[in-house]
Amino acid sequence: MINEILIIIGEVLIAIGAICDLIAAIGMNRFPNFFVRLHALTVGAIGGAFVPLIGVTLLSLGAEFLGVYRFFMAGASIVSAILLLFLAPVGSHAIARAAHRSKAAIVYPKVIDRLEEDRERGVIT
């Protein structure tokens, strides 16, 4: 019984992940500039990768047909998920910072850009 529940929860999470991925991919193509696309990336990373990896963990814990190595599978996928939780935001922060500093990407449709203002005033290097 507990196995079936785990599998169902896992499947639901994977389905949520797949849909989030699709939406993030659409957003990645629709959004106008780099900085806005970063938000689509966040959807893709957390909703589209972290959540389904947790789903895979639960599913594989419940799936007895995978044999004794299913614990290996669960362990590897949850470690990957936690690494992803740490790494994804840092990655997008690093690339955003570099893009803004080197002016590789424009911040065009914008309400305000306090960073640019501060940089011009010399508050921040």
Binding site: P32, V43, A76
Partner: protein, 168 residues
């Protein structure tokens, strides 16, 4: 001596990661896991941890659990739904800009946790951090308030509240 104290939490972390990643508890795994955790712990202790007593405080762990639950089941879900709506609606109602919000936590880990929480919620991305004046510069998909205090209230107040309890 400080190095050894600091090595203990690091070794524990290594051991947990090792065993979880392996997914098996045969004697072979435990022996190699202990060896690996001792070696890595001693090598990297000084890089990772500055105050060895913090990781053993149970209150911090309790806050961590509460925070994790809140974060994943409330903050993330709200933010995801918000951004997904913006992506899917035909007119694409975005209102982006970079705002400046103050940092009110102290330790490196706390700042990092707040920044990661901000970035991990869709809709806000930390673009730059001013380490002297202690400001985040956050790219916000829907700028509601452009003043520092207002932005702080709507973006990072709740994260900082927990982060200061967990890490400071």
């Amino acid at each position: 001596m400080g190095r050894l104290y600091r090595a203990i939490p690091v070794s524990l972390l290594v051991f947990i990661v090792y065993i979880v990643f392996t997914g098996a508890i045969t004697p072979y795994d435990i022996i190699t896991g202990v060896l690996v955790s001792i070696v890595i712990g001693i090598i990297t202790a000084n890089i990772v941890i500055s105050n060895p007593y913090k990781p053993f405080d149970p209150r911090r762990w309790a806050h961590t659990i509460v925070y994790t639950l809140y974060y994943f089941f409330v903050a993330e879900v709200k933010a995801h739904i918000d951004v997904i709506k913006r992506i899917l609606s035909p007119k694409m109602p975005i209102n982006p800009g970079i705002v400046k919000i103050p940092i009110r936590v102290n330790s490196d880990y706390a700042i990092t946790a707040v920044a990661n929480s901000i970035t991990n919620t869709p809709g806000t991305v930390v673009v730059e951090i001013d380490e002297n004046g202690k400001y985040f510069y956050v790219h916000w998909i829907d700028v509601k308030r452009i003043d520092e205090e207002g932005a702080y209230r709507s973006i990072s107040y709740i994260f900082e509240k927990y982060a200061s309890k967990v890490f400071d």
